[in-house]
């Protein structure tokens, strides 16, 4: 019973990155630099314990380099923890980088199929959602032109429209909404509010204080790879602003 209300469960999780001064990709480089390959282990996340319940909308805040994006990547299973465990209960959709999983030469419409299939949808399921996705993206006639001709705002609109329409239980969104214009950003916010009311779980990285306050009941402040503070949005934000301006 206890697990049925938990969406994401992270236990004693740490993540190290090995940073090479100059990465050896070929055998030759490996042999030549065998002795003097400077490498440095960087601890990006240190012993994170975290439970996100179903239906919660959580904001991840923190300065650049504090490990927010790494944490999202770990939750989606793009990378794996060095130690500890991450358990995800439910279907997950993530929107981490602009145009991830888009094929530049394909048209917007073809990319909807390609992108939604990466999220694990079948053709019939995509067919059923196609109109909704196109409508939300407001791309109009551009939907049939190759996405390499899109502006970054159009990219984001298409990517966001796909990600929120795949019926995931858990949605992860990195700082990408900032690319859209004011009106579309508001539209996204409202859509996310709608999803929140439907009981979806959302984890959301943002530097926008307004967006975080508007959307999230809980905020997690990451600082140098550790959770500095976790709690009600208002109190976490207050302290964060006090420390980081």
């Amino acid at each position: 019973m206890k697990n049925s209300c938990v969406a994401v469960e992270i236990n004693n999780m740490s993540k190290d990155f090995i940073i090479y001064a100059d990465k050896a990709n070929t055998l030759k480089e490996r042999i030549v630099r065998f002795s003097n390959n400077k490498k440095e282990v960087r601890h990006i996340l240190k012993n994170i314990n975290l439970k996100i319940n179903k239906g919660e909308t959580v904001a991840l805040i923190g300065v650049n380099g504090s490990g927010k994006s790494t944490l999202l990547k770990l939750i989606t299973k793009i990378i794996y923890p060095t130690s500890g465990s991450i358990k995800v209960h439910g279907k997950l959709a993530s929107l981490l980088e602009l145009g991830a999983g888009f094929h530049p030469d394909f048209s917007g419409r073809e990319n909807i199929y390609f992108n939604a299939s990466i999220f694990g949808l079948t053709k019939a399921e995509i067919d059923a959602r196609l109109d909704k996705i196109i409508e939300f993206s407001e791309l109009g006639d551009f939907i049939d032109t190759p996405v390499r001709t899109y502006s970054s705002g159009m990219y984001m609109r298409l990517a966001f429209s796909v990600a929120i329409n795949v019926d995931a239980d858990i949605i992860l969104i990195d700082e990408i909404l900032a690319v859209g214009d004011q009106r579309f950003q508001e539209k996204c916010m409202n859509k996310m509010l709608e999803l929140k009311k439907l009981g979806k779980t959302m984890v959301f990285v943002s530097h926008s204080k307004e967006a975080v306050e508007f959307l999230c009941d809980r905020a997690i402040w990451l600082n140098n790879g550790v959770i500095q503070k976790d709690g009600k949005t208002k109190s976490v934000l207050e302290e964060y602003i006090k420390v980081c301006g």
Partner: protein, 257 residues
Amino acid sequence: MNIFKNLYNYREFLKTSIKKEFRGKYKKSFLGVLWSFLNPLFQLLIYALVFPFILKNNVENYTVFLIVALFPWNFFNLSIIQSAACIVANGGIIKKVYFPREILPIATSTSNLINFLISSILVFLALFISGIGLTKAVVVLPLIILIQYILQLGLSFILSAITVYVRDVEYLINVLMMLAFYLSPIVYSADMIPSKYLPLFKLNPMFHIIKYYRDILYYGKIPEMGSVLLLLFACIIILVVGYLIFRKLEKRFAEEL
């Protein structure tokens, strides 16, 4: 057994990936998909002209003798070379989105299988035109194709994953494939190998596979089933080991790319 559930959930992505591999290959060339026929045909023509001179063998219908082995070899060759590169080539999406990574080598191997099945029309055409025809031995052929597919899938799991860590593998493969071409009885027949080296040749799984193709199609006889099943078993082991290696290495793909 999670892999089957995962693949089932992502079946649409698997399908589009196979299509993309298949369509994308000749997309920008003038003759398009026709090249998947023309290429092996020219190769066949060249070998059929050159090797009878060098080998001085008196094989009847050398062109047919060659085609029944050369086409399966091309299937192997292309499948291995392409799958070695398949993870690195898709680095962009691997770093940004989650999907079961094994879809990529599976899609590469499968699109090559489809390509092979289409091009094998030429093999059957050659058999009929030359008057050799088919015998009932052909019922074993699907099993041989399956064994070859399993072997290639297993190898592509291993090679695609290792290439991420050591990029040289991609180039090394080209050289090794050239060597393997001459170590398999393609341009010559298996019984031309001196018997003291034969056990060594037999370590190469493609040695057996090529021989079975020729037994079935050219000589029209059913290969000895005991050794076919043994080979099937060996290839399944390669597939399982390959998949386990892949599972181990895939965890750091996004960081190494």
